[in-house]
């Protein structure tokens, strides 16, 4: 640091710019890619999405001989192919939360809101950039998971399912759409709660604690309510055949997207009103 004393003159900037939407998005892309936690979370999400179906397929294949007819009938190849989605959603959700709470915990948010004092462009840009990145990584992951698990199960004719079979392409692509929406939902929760641990706990409560609790309710209530929970509605996007007390894929997916919009809207209102 010896050279600093001599250089005190601030060089002038040739031209001045204004804050625009694409510029904020560009900035958010730089922020996302320049953190180690991002790269790790996304790597883990890709790995889990692909590895779990491969593992389940291998187990199913090796135990096929010892399964009874009933058990064999319960093996659904698409469920195996998309088993990883259930696991990697946690990695995506944690990253979605961190994208925003990481700024609050480090104080970066003050720098972000000083550069973009209107604030909302930051939230929208974060959401869009993260959603695109998550989808572009998860789409090939679920497609690879599908074909890899099918290849591993190739010895069992009954477990083969064609990508062109009605609903299969929608379910596989739906797996990536679901993960993207989970990321958006978690990001919104993060923006509302503003604290990493609290936001992850909130997400886990909504996705992993409340659904099984519904079993305590009378069956008729459970059947009536559960299908409208975010996680239950959302998973219909990647279910081949909806259950008797589930929404159809499109209404379920749209409802989940609606929940995401609701969470983001609440986050936006709070973002404007609260002190930083």
């Amino acid at each position: 640091m010896n050279s600093v004393a001599s250089a005190q003159q601030l060089p002038r900037l040739a031209h001045t710019g204004r804050v625009t939407w694409p510029r904020v998005a560009h900035s958010e892309w730089t922020k996302l890619r320049s953190l180690r936690s991002t790269r790790w979370s996304l790597f883990v999400a890709v790995l889990l999405t692909i590895a779990f179906p491969a593992l389940f397929a291998a187990i199913t294949s090796s135990h096929w001989g010892s399964m009874n007819a009933h058990e064999r009938a319960n093996r659904r190849p698409l469920e195996i192919a998309l088993a990883g989605v259930n696991v990697s959603q946690l990695a995506i959700a944690v990253l979605g939360v961190l994208v925003i709470t990481g700024e609050y915990s480090t104080g970066m948010i003050r720098a972000s809101f000083t550069a973009v004092p209107k604030r909302l462009p930051v939230l929208w840009a974060k959401t869009v950039v993260f959603a695109i990145v998550a989808f572009l990584l998860m789409l090939p992951s679920v497609v690879i998971a599908f074909f890899a698990s099918q290849a591993i199960l190739s010895g069992h004719h009954i477990l083969q399912i064609s990508f062109s079979h009605p609903g299969v392409a929608r379910s596989v692509i739906g797996g990536a759409v679901y993960l993207m929406l989970v990321g958006i939902f978690a990001l919104g929760i993060g923006a509302i709660v503003r604290n990493t641990a609290g936001a992850i706990a909130t997400f886990a409560g909504i996705f992993f604690v409340i659904p099984p609790l519904m079993n305590i309710l009378p069956t008729s209530w459970n059947n009536a309510i559960s299908q409208y929970l975010p996680s239950e509605a959302g998973r219909q996007i990647f279910s081949l055949t909806p259950g008797s007390h589930s929404l159809a894929p499109w209404p379920g997916g749209l409802l989940f997207a609606g929940y995401c919009a609701l969470v983001l809207a609440l986050a936006a209102v709070l973002l404007i009103r609260r002190d930083t």
Partner: protein, 309 residues
């Protein structure tokens, strides 16, 4: 130019900033002085609209900060609390901020050079020392070539060389016609850097004047005079700009005249003088006197066992 009018901020039932009105002018360094907890940082957050005021208003260069199309060109700010993601490199931190305004990588390199962080630019900011963190914050503040520079306790954590560098940087920025607003709780630092001072305590403004004037008022040209003829000396010394206070037993406190002037006047009138002592209050003392009432937590109020520390 920063203009605050009746700026007030409550946190719950605690008033952090209380009806603050001031103007920070371009072309000079304005010091924002006050003890810790007096509301300096809150005021700066209010200027940037990170917090919203409970009452009053503040504008920067004629507009609310939020309403500027390119805010980083208007105000470059270094906040007291760190505002850097610890997992990101200094370079990427600056790049991300620059990109919001379409400022290019060359500018980022330029600023890293200016603050002397080239060797550590690719290191994660979480590994930075306090001084390096300050330099990174200053680079971020100057990124947009701002018309107004606002720095909260910028010399915190800087080594003597860094403090010297900062002083020259601030003076240079002001000389270029920028508005420079710098907070500190150190009177000595401000007396070397600032042309104008705004002093606050407990969120209220207690002084707003040139540094020169503040220093003059602080030491106040106080001279102690002891004379057996004090009673006759008193009317002789009194004048429009001079105050003389009799303390009894031949003791006078004269404000507004130098010891030499008093001695000459006494000699001319053949008065006997037994003592002639200029009372020099140091700047630190003056500042302490001025803000004593307004210090948030006085040592005397602490429990004995805490006060030992």
């Amino acid at each position: 130019m920063i203009e605050a009018e009746g700026l007030t901020k409550d946190y719950g039932d605690k008033r952090a900033v209380d009806g603050l009105s001031f103007t920070v002018h371009p072309g000079i360094v304005t010091g924002f002085l006050g003890p810790n907890g007096s509301g300096k940082s809150t005021t700066m957050r209010l200027i940037l609209q990170l917090d919203s005021p409970s009452a009053g208003d503040v504008t920067v260069n004629g507009k609310h900060y939020r309403d500027h199309a390119g805010p980083l060109h208007q105000v470059g700010a270094l906040l007291e609390a760190r505002s850097v993601h610890t997992g990101r490199s200094a370079y990427n931190h600056l790049l991300a901020l620059a990109q919001t305004h379409g400022i290019g990588r060359r500018r980022v390199d330029e600023l890293i050079g200016l603050v002397g962080l080239h060797d550590v630019a690719k290191k994660r900011a979480g590994q930075f020392s306090l001084g390096m963190g300050q330099r990174l914050g200053i680079a971020a503040a100057l990124l947009g070539d701002p018309a107004t520079v606002m720095l909260d306790e910028p010399v915190n954590g800087l080594d003597p060389e860094g403090i010297h560098w900062m002083r020259n940087l601030l003076k240079g920025l002001a000389a270029e016609g920028r508005t420079v607003f710098v907070s500190s709780h150190l009177m000595s630092e401000m007396s070397l850097t600032a042309d104008h001072l705004i002093v606050i305590g407990r969120g209220r403004k207690i002084a707003d004047m040139s540094t020169e004037e503040f220093i003059r008022q602080a030491s106040g040209n106080l001279v102690r005079v002891r004379s057996p003829q004090a009673a006759e000396l008193e009317p002789l010394l009194s004048g429009p700009d001079v105050s003389v206070q009799g303390l009894g037993q031949g003791l006078l406190e004269v404000r507004g005249l130098t010891a030499a002037q008093i001695g000459d006047a006494a000699a001319a009138n053949q008065f006997v003088i037994h003592e002639l002592t200029p009372q020099q209050a140091s700047l630190e003392e003056a500042f302490m006197t001025l803000t004593r009432e307004d210090v948030e937590f006085k040592a005397a109020e602490l429990e004995p066992e805490e006060a030992v520390l």
